[in-house]
Assembly symmetry: C2
Homo-oligomer: 193 residues x 2
């Protein structure tokens, strides 16, 4: 029989983060109250403050955690530039389709981060963009890519790949490998020499 009171430290913490992620993605950070998060978890609002000092820290943890996971999961830089770009494309699509809410709030709620937290997250994003740009530069030097501006190209490719999340629905007419093939076709041609 379910208790209505008692100690649940091990499970409550992650459930609070899950609930906050889901609600922030759906309604936006500013529109979500601590009471809503607590209700989603099944505790009272006061209990949340055993796990987070305040609402802002909850958002910071979600965004920073997402970017650190993204950087840690990147494919190894092995193979020629074409192979590396294909691996990056496949990875980027798969990683973000697997975490639609985290990806969504990582773009949408940046402005709700206080300055030092914003700077920290931006530094991580910058590192990720740099990873792609290095692939593009290596390809240009090898003569397989033709890109007048590798920095802008990196922005453009990431923006294009991010767009998958705006239309893809699991169980739709396209499987993940089909989506990866479709985007790889355009990525490959866009950078081609």
């Amino acid at each position: 029989m379910a208790r209505t009171q008692g100690s649940h430290a091990d499970i409550t913490g992650p459930r609070i983060r899950d609930a906050a992620l889901r609600l922030f993605a759906k309604h936006g950070y500013a529109a979500v109250s601590m009471r809503q998060i607590a209700a989603e978890v099944g505790v009272q609002a006061g209990a949340l403050y055993n796990y987070t000092p305040d609402k802002q820290a909850l958002l910071v943890s979600l965004l920073q955690g997402h970017m650190e996971e993204l950087l840690a999961a990147r494919p190894d830089p092995s193979g020629d530039p074409m192979q590396r770009l294909r691996a990056f494309t496949d990875f980027h699509i798969a990683f973000h389709l697997d975490r639609p809410e985290a990806m969504f709030i990582s773009y949408m709620e940046l402005r709700n981060l206080e300055k030092p937290h914003f700077d920290a997250v931006e530094r991580l994003r910058r590192a990720y963009e740099d990873g792609l740009e290095q692939i593009l530069r290596a390809g240009r030097e090898a003569g397989v890519f033709a890109l007048p501006d590798t920095r802008i190209a990196a922005f453009a490719l990431i923006a294009m790949l991010n767009g998958v999340n705006t239309w893809y629905r699991a169980g739709g007419r396209l499987s993940l490998p089909q989506v990866q093939d479709l985007y790889w076709d355009m990525v490959r041609k866009a950078v081609a020499a």
Copy 2:
């Protein structure tokens, strides 16, 4: 000498929309109070309700107005598919770089629209995407574009072009025509046969 009271119907209306656009873009719809908007305009909160029935109507008006302007400003469908695609690319970049806040809230604040308003704005966006897809289909039928899926390609190209707004700053190292050339280079190659 400036009055602190009195009638200013002609100028107050547009100024409220301007202030709301700026503040919504900066802090997010949910995070902006009617008092903040009023303060930005230089009136008291109560005065806003002479111009909008409520806060939601202000957001609807901004998003719907932006999409209608976008559709109305599209380039004429003249020329061959390659020329039409170039015109679309140049137009899309120029239009959105000219309205960064409106573009921003049109993507970010969709979720804060009540259902019927959301549907109305989505219908307009869909019409815009359809315009690009028709260009892509015409090019594929003419044999100048090679695209396995014109719908996905339209999404991908729009997402790529939208990305300009995340990094472009007026007065930066690149002029508008330079940006248009850089993106056209990638768009052209991405769809090429």
